[in-house]
Symmetry: C2
Subunit: 238 residues, 2 copies
């Protein structure tokens, strides 16, 4: 279960399984590669697998009866999804599609079920994980309501940088801008205006997918004053 310097056990939740279960994980986890546009699963499919991303990007999204879609999450290296679906009627409550070529691991939900049932500390770790997921959604709702478009984009950029830098930072937009706009609940033209505002307010420079933030600390101050959390965000701690 380790390839290219990546291990599914780097996911904090999975690292808390017993040694024997970690060994089982190594034999049941399957590594795959998928191209942009590949649908991993659809809403209401049987939730037989959960996923860990080694590289690339995946969108989790829902579709309405009218055919519109909403991106609920954009996930990348080290992220896990589908792990809570066993408890949701044993079916996926959303769709998952690769949006940038991805290498990913599929693990049977029966593995997580067995570990939860036989190892209470792992069950507690799972609940800790789920409470953080819910809190992450609370933050998204808060931001949809209170942040303007430039602050929502600022929050997205802050979360792209998993390092400790507070000075100048160079970032790369990892997926198409229209996907980022959808995820942030805005139209593509609103995203363009939000980028312009960050340029005016904070001197952020945009060149295609390359973003230069002259002061990461200034971006934190600008964005996080409209949030009830402080940076680095607590909901990303697990």
């Amino acid at each position: 279960m380790t390839k290219n310097n990546f291990s599914v056990l780097s996911v904090p939740l999975l690292s808390q399984a017993r040694d024997t279960s970690r060994a089982v994980l190594g034999s049941v986890a399957k590594r795959h590669m998928g191209e942009k546009g590949y649908l991993l699963f659809s809403q209401n499919d049987a939730a037989d697998w959960f996923y860990v991303i080694e590289s690339g990007w995946v969108k989790l999204f829902s579709e309405t009866i009218d055919g519109d879609d909403v991106i609920l999450d954009l996930m990348t290296r080290g992220d896990i999804f589908g792990e809570t679906t066993y408890f949701y009627n044993k079916s996926y409550p959303f769709n998952a599609e690769i949006v940038e070529q991805a290498v990913f691991w599929m693990i049977p939900t029966s593995w997580i079920e067995a570990e939860i049932k036989s190892h209470p500390p792992f069950a507690i770790a799972m609940m800790h994980h789920m409470s953080h997921l819910k809190f992450s959604r609370d933050k998204q709702i808060e931001h949809h309501t209170l942040q303007d478009a430039s602050q929502r984009l600022g929050c997205f950029l802050l979360r792209l940088n998993r390092g400790e830098e507070r000075g100048a930072v160079n970032l790369i937009l990892p997926v198409d801008k229209y996907l980022i706009a959808n995820y942030l609940g805005m139209k593509p033209e609103t995203l363009s205006r939000a980028l312009s505002k960050l340029s005016q307010e904070l001197g952020v420079l945009v060149d295609g997918i390359n973003i230069h933030v002259p002061s990461f600390q200034a971006l934190i101050t600008y964005t996080c004053r409209t949030c009830s959390d402080v940076f680095p965000c607590q909901d990303r701690a697990v």
Copy 2:
């Protein structure tokens, strides 16, 4: 733990505790009454208690550094909150305040912790409950992005009616309109326009806090076509 024809064991999650634990619950659950404006707890307080509402309304809300607030949930009879906070750094990630005079029960989180640790089926029930909470938040995010103001209000009205009627239904707005507007992520004047639109489109009649819906089925059709779920909503099933 039963007063005025209400039992905390009517909460689906708590009904799944063992008989012996249900008896303990009866001795540790404390019944209180609180007036509008009473703060039950603040963000970051130690999560020593969780709550079940017997009557009245409570808002769960977060406050930003700038002093703005967002209502994350409006809760009433039979609803439970604070039950997942034990797993969130053992502190509350939001505030809770009574918005309409409420009778509520406080139960030590140590009770839920003990039941989870000693009774695996209850731990599984808890995870089922948490996965539905997360899905409920996914729905809110979807609605913030895709529904117009009249559909978000329509969704709120649909959820007020816990019965099976599909014809004419009379509803009462349970809390101040500005609270409903905040919860739905809109300004009070937008809520007024949304009510007008529901009147034009569906013949909904508004008289102060009294709402007459001539066809509940028509309101479902109007609202739920912009949702990935079907009515009655699955996230309300637990």
